[in-house]
């Protein structure tokens, strides 16, 4: 079971140029089995949010707020307890499988390591399990492939190997950060299909800038902009009837939806706009948007949107 609750999460990075406000008060829940998509453009803070849950941020990051997972307050756990959560309960699939895999070890032995450390399996049974896992992620000739090194794998196969490794410790929650970035369209589709299959019994936080991918495998989608969530909706609601002006223009700018440009650029995380962070680019902005910061509104139909238009 998975019960993740993030409340009022803030992450700041002190830099020479000023304080980078990467995450600005995020509230998010994943309850039971669910795939939640977190979409946003580059620099919107989505990766930082994923890293903050697992406390993988650099030491100088200032993290405030609360992250609770299955009754444990992750931000106050001791480091060794956190390590157990990381290996066993929540696993992360990183953006770049080439750098996430150790080039000097065979793919099989890297998955084996997880099984022996976290699951306490002996070597022969760990080896058998590795082959099973590689078969689960549809790698052909699994027992032969297990003995190969990452450079002998294609990009899509490396991603499959990463997924196999994530499944090795049978976690409750997978955080996948742009797992399909850089993959070709046909390969990407196969990886999405695979992720959908392996999350039939698990939950996933799927971080991406690609709405189409998120829509394919997530039941709900959260839209992130300048370190905040602007809208959280069921996938079909967001696709058919986006509420927030940013969600609307984001969808409209997709090539498949007419390629209508959004004016302006994403704000700097050091110097965020006052009030609603989207107001300088918003066609509906009024005086209040500039002055006051809109709260997340919970509508009667259960939809959540951070915009004064719906107040």
């Amino acid at each position: 079971m998975c019960s993740l609750e993030i409340s009022n999460l803030r992450v700041f990075f002190p830099t020479d140029d000023g304080l980078v406000k990467a995450t600005n008060g995020v509230d998010l829940r994943i309850e039971g089995r669910e795939n939640l998509g977190l979409i946003g453009e580059s620099g919107s803070g989505k990766t930082v949010l994923g890293m903050a849950i697992l406390r993988l941020l650099p030491r100088d990051a200032r993290v405030e707020g609360m992250v609770t997972f299955n009754g444990q307050d992750l931000l106050s756990l001791e480091e060794d307890e956190m390590r157990r959560v990381r290996g066993k309960e929540i696993v992360m699939i990183l953006q770049n499988p080439t750098s996430a895999l150790n080039p000097a070890l065979t793919v099989g032995s890297q998955i084996e390591e997880v099984l022996r450390l976290d699951e306490g399996l002996d070597r022969p049974s760990a080896r058998r399990r590795v082959v099973e896992l590689l078969k689960t992620v549809r790698i052909r000739y699994a027992s032969k492939r297990a003995k190969e090194y990452p450079h002998q794998f294609s990009g899509g196969m490396r991603e499959r190997a990463m997924i196999a490794m994530a499944l090795a410790s049978d976690p409750f929650l997978i955080i996948a950060d742009e797992p399909t970035k850089g993959l070709d369209v046909t390969i990407k589709r196969e990886i999405l299909k695979l992720l959908k299959m392996v999350t039939e019994t698990k939950s996933m936080l799927f971080i991406t800038h690609d709405l189409a991918s998120a829509a394919e495998i997530c039941e709900r989608i959260a839209v992130m902009y300048a370190g905040e969530l602007l809208e959280v909706a069921r996938t079909e609601d967001l696709l058919n009837d986006p509420l927030h002006p940013y969600s609307k223009v984001f969808l409209g700018s997709l090539p498949s939806r007419g390629l209508k440009p959004v004016r302006g650029t994403c704000p700097s995380l050091i110097d965020l706009p006052s009030g609603c962070k989207f107001h300088p680019r918003c066609d509906h902005a009024t005086a209040i948007c500039k002055r006051e910061h809109p709260p997340m509104l919970k509508r009667e139909d259960g939809r959540q949107v951070r915009c004064f238009l719906y107040a």
């Binding site: 453009e41 046909t186 800038h209 984001f250 700018s253 997709l254 498949s256 209508k260 440009p261 959004v262």
Partner: protein, 308 residues
């Protein structure tokens, strides 16, 4: 405007007996009409960038010809080629790497104008200001350096610089692949406006099908150095014929079929047949034995497949 005939580019690696060849572009022919945008679509490593560079003769073909506006540019001497260069420009994927980090934006854009000669510095200044405006930048951007600009803004600078030499033909190689969708929309719209206003002929290279659909009049689908399908963009999107094009464009038609690459037992994996054979769910004996020929399935719609 531009015609490529039986173009081939081989890259070699190794030495003497161990020398190996890879065909990046394998005997492709296409034409681009004046004023049209020709999309070249394919996955990474399919040879689409190499094809774009060959079209501009930025690299020399192993064999084949490129005819630009009636001139066979593959036969031109370097000096004659240089004279033609301003008319043909390329825009690359990474705008930050395309600009000299030590040059202010205005100098980058002015460079082609200064090289052309015959313009006073005041004329150049005026033209640069016009180009900056045409590319949707603000006058104050002129005095900045590339690192002070966003990726989208730098891609506008690259566009302005390409337009400075007043080209007829532009090859754009994944011009928006590193940009966010909202910025991508800005750049693609700008390119469409410029194409219309300046009557540019464009070769648009992309891996993104939706972008190709939106930008191109005609398109070609490439795979492992070959063009597998070519024709009017809307026609290909509404009726893709090649199994690979169908897999790319209409995956729902291919649901349940196996496209994972099959291993083929032959030396070096070389076989004389169709490049898509190892992944093709419909493959028959002839497909591994014999190279298919381009077949016209409709007016201006060709497919490289034995089974069509």
């Amino acid at each position: 405007m531009l015609e490529a005939i039986d173009l081939e580019k081989r890259f070699s690696s190794g030495w003497m007996l161990k020398k190996k060849y890879a065909k990046a572009v394998d005997d492709i022919s296409f034409r681009i009409d004046r004023g049209e945008t020709f999309g070249l679509v394919g996955e990474s490593g399919c040879g689409k960038t190499t094809a774009g560079k060959l079209a501009l003769r930025l690299i020399e073909p192993t064999s084949g010809r490129v005819v630009f506006d009636g001139i066979d540019i593959t036969r031109l001497k370097p000096k004659e080629m240089r004279r033609l260069r301003p008319r043909m420009q390329m825009i690359f994927q990474d705008p930050d790497a395309s600009l000299d980090p030590r040059m202010k934006i205005e100098r980058s854009i002015a460079e082609p104008l200064r090289l052309r000669g015959g313009l006073s510095s005041r004329e150049i200044e005026g033209k640069v200001a016009d180009l900056i405006e045409a590319a949707g930048l603000n006058p104050e951007h002129a005095r900045r350096y590339p690192y002070q600009m966003s990726g989208g803004q730098n891609q506008r600078v690259v566009l302005a610089r390409a337009l400075a030499s007043n080209p007829d033909f532009i090859v754009a190689d994944e011009p928006t692949s590193g940009l966010d969708v909202s910025v991508q929309a800005q750049i693609l719209n700008l390119m469409n406006d410029l194409k219309r206003d300046l009557k540019l002929t464009t070769m648009f290279i992309t891996h993104d099908l939706e972008v190709a659909r939106h930008m191109s009049d005609r398109m070609a689908v490439m795979y492992r150095g070959k063009i597998l399908e070519m024709g009017k963009t809307e026609e290909i999107f509404s009726r893709p014929r090649h199994p690979y094009a169908r897999l790319l464009i209409a995956p729902e038609l291919e649901e349940g079929r196996d496209h994972q690459e099959a291993e083929i037992n032959c030396k070096n994996g070389d076989f004389p047949g169709c490049v898509f054979y190892p992944r093709c769910p419909f493959a028959e004996d002839i497909c591994i034995k014999k190279q298919p020929e381009m077949i016209g399935v409709d007016r201006d719609h060709q497919v490289l497949c034995h089974l069509v």
